[in-house]
Symmetry: C3
Subunit: 532 residues, 3 copies
């Protein structure tokens, strides 16, 4: 039945500037091309000839397109390749439940009858958007928020609200310890009289660095007129913009940017399922998930074989649609077997299959209960999930039972391909690594503590930053880079990364250098090397 | 004739959970899909309609599949995409000799008549497997070994036996010098009374790091019962598992894991020929072959163009099937020209086209004669292929004639595309780099020797590790990272990697830092700076 | 009409060694395969059946091919896949102007009537090539130069002459400051009497490192005879060869190598448009454009989606042919919208959409006016575009008006997808980063200046290299690696790279280490720590 809507087309590709909307090929109107193999000027294409029936573009969106095909042609063409442009919410809701891509049971008003276009997303919930402004007769907002997406995807929005990433802005910027680390990382040092001091970074710099991933505060600063091919138009002046950080604070007060992983304006599930997307924030040495994946067997197979996989199927069938997991498979996707078993439910919480939190802090620890981690207090009273000796702030962290439940959920994904002994042994090794790296971090921390005690570095007791001196920065690398990286390498079986690339080798080398550096500082400061 | 077995199919993809084995598409039984372009719900596919004729699945394997389609659905679906699942050994042996993928001239019993499925590999040679156990009526082993693969691929197994990689476990773990380096890299340092000491790593940690690539010892620890969708089943408890290291010591006493490069359960020649596969062990700074390849012109072309190449053809035709070499092309593959010349024979020895061994040791040297390098003794009596001054332990290394033969074999591959002057000049430059980096390593070593002599570091003479102190670790990086990396960059023309990314810049910077560090140590230890 | 030249072919792939030129498939002669999906032995192909009509191979080239199909089969097969092999200059010149790939209005003699083959490029302009030699009756040159390419592509050659890359050899090797840096980076240190000295690098080493990208001087050293399958043949002996550096000095005196980006012998526009190609020289920490792109949203989308894009279309239509820019899109390509607007003209100058020069020097500065930067003199009289305090040598750099014009040109590309506020805000942030990193570089430089003043490092005043001591090398990394990398990360929105991977974190850590190192040097040299 669906077949009637498609046909195979072999056509000459001869672009004429007068053609409308790319739908005319070879001199004949053929309909929307869904996918094509282009060979020189030959297009071997599958064409949705019946597209328009039951999937009309709303009159409002047609008005947007009339200008924006010229004003921002790239995003219009991008959107036209999206499912949003080809499907109405009503069609989406009519799918068998396992195959649904939207979780709404109903949508407001007439919305279900037209495809999801410009006007649908950029004018909805207008009253709740502080950044709504008048634009050619529309009450428009530039920044589409998770609440707007939730009109069709409410369950995904709810899940994401439990995701620690949705709190990424506040967790970084409203925690005084981390805030200090941001300042010492991005600020500008000055060298005067043989001493370094630090000028804190500007908002532009922080938006260009940490908050690029963690999210900025996007604020509506008023309307300005800009020239356009169609005369002057109103546009909104926004600060903290552009940004697509996962914890972005939107003008409507909501948290997050769905476009971090489902980038505009195709919002493709394929992109979200491919690991390059995650690499935008998870490749550096502080959280090298992608770098580890690349050298894992999973990543090898992905890299060599993903061209044959189906990244668009919902649900996603192990072995049939893909033969090695991507980031999404383990952490987010709705994964089934060919015989109908559900291996993992779709989740946008991300950490509900993770028992240990392995990065961002000196020591690995159970995941925080509340995604807002500024509420945590360790024994020393600091907003950190462990003390400096590694002791967890357990009251704020998930308990052993919840850890076991989450690990079991992850093992369910592994079991799509691996036997139970294989899986159990893997996690035993991972637990050993978690313990190892906590022990190693403690050693590096003890060197640092001695430096602070001896006055060879200035720390909390001196009312000074923990992150501004050379030895402190070496200490930070011990846990932020090397311990984290080794844990990731262990968790995802990318051992090459966890030894010489960014792992155990550097961990131990750094500790050895810290010990010598401490000695050099003692010598330079005329300290009695009492402990040597 | 083969054509009769295939047809082009354009079908609607409509998955129903009640369908059997994915072979029903669009409501009609069509046969096994060999490859497909999937466009939304349209499948443009080449289907093997006649597959079953002459390529039956054995009754034993059918019994395996009956449960494992549910128990481990991913690997079943993966296997179904393999040549193993579509071809019998008899069909493989009937191919023209140049096109054969198996080297056996005969296979035992009835084996030739059915496809190569679960039971064929996991029950063969049962008596020689210490890990054989009873599993639902089968005498099964989990760990399929090179000897099992050799039933159909005996020549490849023989070649791999000469590959130094097959000895990778013992070469690392049974050489006291390297074993110490493993311990200092993976062990946990303790900081007490201002001094560092090292607690050796656990077996779990070494399996999770060095032995991940070098191979673990996989040991059968008995049988346990596990719950399954079909009731309790016997599974084998294995230690050193999971592992796919190239020098894995299998329960049947054999060495290696074919799945390192031909990953389960598709065992694809395409995957083995693609460089991402090699990156699993050859990307880090100690042996950055993949990282260098990525920035070489060969790698650029591969990255941009490989989508158009044929990675499955046997033999592999230069220019037609591929237009730039991958790792496999130069080191392993059977490469021919379109006019029928053989440019390189298939080899699983890997180093028979390599004259210099350029990594893993302080100095480049001719390849060892015996893949078991623990037998080597240098003048100082250590199991190392050179002395600390770079002098090769020539009795254990290939001679100049063999070096010339191997270089000539490599040049034969280059000649597929390059003229002789081009090739000769390239290798002259490479030889210059080999000499250069040996000279530079000697300089770094002389600084280290002075530190050991002055007692500013503790080495062999002090019965202490060579690899535990900061200055020693810097020395290790000189050769293990920077000299190695520069040699790789030169060998594979990835100059960008060999200068600032991980090469000459760091080599010289590290040496300059070592000289200063030695001075700082002298100062801290109150040594007379007699030599400065 | 063009359609008549192609047909869809479904054939069995059965290679027989006796077949001619790969054009026989399935036992039938079908013509040239332009692209194909290969599935086992089935080829689903688009075949140019009418190829030969009006696109003959010249008699000279046919003579080349007669031997080289055997002698260098890979490059012959590669060339056969090129547009050069399928199109005559006359056909190229007959295209509508927007779609033209060649800029010549006429070509000499009979050249327009045959495809562009071996003889066309390797015998043209024979008298101007010092490397012309007699080879089987031809007056041949090995090194095809930009002037040869300019016969059909004169406008591209003119543009490239304004590209600073065309002067890359001289700009590096003829500038005494940079030449010294090359020597200190590639030379071999010696350690004698506790002191380091440096032996300058050999020409082979420099060709293998810096000049691999910057270009060698390729010199004709005479003719030698080599054995071939067809008996002895004359080949040219060349020094500085192989090389494809962007500033290569060719035997005919011209500058550059078009094959840097359009690699032999397919010369594909697809390859040039894909970012992997740029990575050959632009991935390392000194100029990490590719590494930044990889973690940018543009790079994420490219990585996930480029398989669906059309990299061959001329002009290149935003949104239709691609949905995120590659390096070429922003810096080189002729980009249009679907409605016919030109977003950017084709340019091989590359910096005409760039206002700031952000790498290679301590401080960012406006682009030099003349691509030959050896002419520049700063206030101190050195051939550098700024002084050590960051003050620009403005007389030699583009002015604010030209900067504004170039930025505006770049914004025109951005506007294909992004609104004006988005774009303006992005560049404001980038400007802030440019200022920030100049400030930070000044701090690192002030530490270095103090070391030189105190005699703890030996610099210009001591008639010593600026780049040979440990502290100097750390200083170099401040600007060459970390300031550069952060600027790239800001320019291309790859924040992950600009913080912990290779940016702000390391910048500040390095400065802190420099301050301590200075202190350790003071202590070791018995200096009064007067300033501390």
């Amino acid at each position: 039945m669906l077949m009637a809507h498609f046909r195979l087309s072999i056509a000459v590709r001869y672009r004429s500037r007068s053609e409308d909307n790319g739908r005319t090929q070879g001199g004949r109107t053929v309909g929307r091309i869904h996918n094509a193999i282009i060979v020189g000027q030959i297009v071997l294409a599958v064409v949705a000839v019946g597209h328009a029936r039951g999937a009309e573009i709303s009159a409002d969106t047609q008005r947007c397109l009339a200008c924006h095909r010229t004003a921002t042609p790239g995003i219009v063409a991008d959107w036209e390749k999206s499912i949003h442009a080809a499907t109405t919410p009503n069609q989406g809701m009519a799918k068998p439940s396992l195959e649904r891509r939207i979780s709404a049971m109903s949508v407001p008003g007439e919305m279900g009858r037209t495809v999801v276009g410009c006007a649908e997303c950029h004018t909805i919930n207008a009253d709740r958007h502080k950044d709504s402004f008048d634009h050619n007769g529309f009450r428009l907002h530039t920044v589409v928020s998770p609440r707007d997406c939730a009109v069709c995807h409410p369950e995904e929005d709810r899940q994401y609200g439990k995701n620690i990433m949705s709190q990424a802005h506040g967790n970084l910027n409203n925690n005084p310890v981390y805030h200090d680390m941001v300042a010492m990382t991005n600020g500008t040092q000055k060298f005067d009289d043989g001493k370094l001091s630090v000028v804190p970074p500007s908002p532009e710099t922080t938006a260009d660095s940490c908050n690029s991933c963690h999210g900025t505060v996007v604020t509506f600063e008023g309307v300005i007129q800009k020239a356009s091919p169609f005369g002057p138009v109103n546009v909104s002046r926004l600060s903290g913009w552009p940004n697509q950080g996962v914890g972005r604070i939107n003008p409507d007060g909501t948290l997050g940017a769905c476009t971090s992983c489902h980038p505009r304006h195709q919002f493709s599930i394929e992109v979200a399922r491919k690991p390059a997307t995650c690499s935008q924030c998870h490749k550096g040495p502080d959280v090298p998930a992608y770098a580890v994946y690349e050298v894992s067997k999973h990543g090898n197979i992905y890299n060599s074989q993903n061209k044959n996989w189906n990244f668009k199927a919902v649900p996603w069938t192990v072995g049939e649609d893909f033969t090695a997991p991507t980031c999404a498979t383990c952490h987010a996707s709705f994964v089934v077997s060919r015989t109908g078993e559900v291996l993992g439910q779709r989740t946008h919480q991300f950490n509900d299959r993770l028992d240990w939190r392995i990065f961002g802090l000196p020591y690995a620890h159970p995941h925080p209960v509340d995604p807002d981690t500024t509420k945590i207090r360790n024994k020393a009273g600091l907003p950190l999930p462990t003390d400096l000796n590694g002791e967890p702030a357990s009251a704020y962290l998930i308990d052993a039972k919840e850890q076991a439940k989450r690990r079991s959920a992850m093992k369910g994904i592994c079991a799509g391909c691996h036997g139970s002994v294989w899986i159990d042994n893997h996690f035993e090794r991972f637990d050993a690594t978690v313990k190892d790296m906590n022990d190693k971090t403690l050693t590096a921390t003890r060197i640092m503590l001695e430096a602070w005690e001896e006055g060879l570095a200035r720390g909390l007791a001196d009312n000074d930053s923990l992150f501004n001196e050379a030895l402190e920065k070496k200490w930070v690398e011990s846990w932020l880079f090397y311990a984290n990286s080794t844990r990731f390498a262990s968790a995802m079986m990318g051992a090459d990364y966890g030894v010489f690339a960014n792992g155990r080798w550097y961990m131990n080398k750094n500790t050895a250098e810290m010990a010598d550096w401490l000695e050099f500082l003692e010598e330079a400061h005329g300290k009695d090397r009492k402990k040597r």
